[in-house]
């Protein structure tokens, strides 16, 4: 695997602990970091997150 392209939905699930898919997103995140798999995201996906005021 050369990289994982994530969309806004993934980022929301990663950030929001109340989401039922939060654990899945976290596991994917951990999996990629442990295997040094680059996580890629488009600018528009980040814009989606910024719309809700959580860009950090």
């Amino acid at each position: 695997m050369t990289g994982l392209l994530v969309d806004t939905g993934f980022l929301i699930r990663l950030l929001n602990e109340n989401e039922e898919l939060n654990r899945n997103a976290t596991d994917y995140y951990r999996f990629c970091l442990e295997r040094q798999i680059p996580i890629l995201r488009s600018t528009i996906a980040i814009c989606g997150i910024l719309c809700q005021g959580t860009g950090q």
Binding site: I12, Q52, Q56
Partner: protein, 258 residues
Amino acid sequence: MEKTGYIEIQITGTKGALPLTQDTYDIREIRELLDKAEDLLFPGQRATGRPVISYDIREGSVVHRLRTSLQAVIGFTAVLSQLQNSQSTDFLEPPTANAFDSFQQIAIRQDYVFQVTTSVVSAPILRIDKTTRFFHEAPICVDAEFYFYGEITNMGGKTRPNFHIVTDHGTVLVQTPKDFLEQYERNPLYKTFGLRARGKQNVETGEIDTANLEFEEIIPYEPVFDEEYLQKLRDKAKDSWKDVVDPDEWLQQLRGTE
């Protein structure tokens, strides 16, 4: 089978009251043409990485013949056909488009007629004269911000201080203020970092002008899973997402697909 071919550039016109011949054709004009010839056949390639191009000049008024690998000549023949059909250089890579632009400028300035063809059977003869318009439009570039991740292999410099960062797409130089390099306390050499930089980007090709990148920020890059860091982000985000019950529905509304 012959493994080389040639492209031929015939130039006709006058020099004052005299017809253009090898005797009236100045060496500066030969040099100007040869400078561009390489870009016609091998745009953006260095001399060491391409086949040899040999040259001779013939009568008629002046005929430049550039001999090189047949494969390159066949490729160039296809370029000529497309130019003949479209009468535009828009589809060409910038170095090649610039070469044709240069011929067009000379044709107007000197009232010369260029006829470009190749040794390939039934190759078209492309005519460039003062009435044609093989100009290369300057690319539209916009200000943009970039993130480069990779190993920092060099930093500093006397006149143009910079960082050298080795990315997946080659080594990138980012001009960096001397003050910053002087005061930066960590030693980033041979470690992986991110560099945020400002520069220009071609809106059509996406190409980045790597000759003029200006430093904005250095970003430590530590791809390790840090539960504490992630929790801090979640705490910050908590209030923002509390009203979003269904993320899929929220996204659809945001994107206007519903």
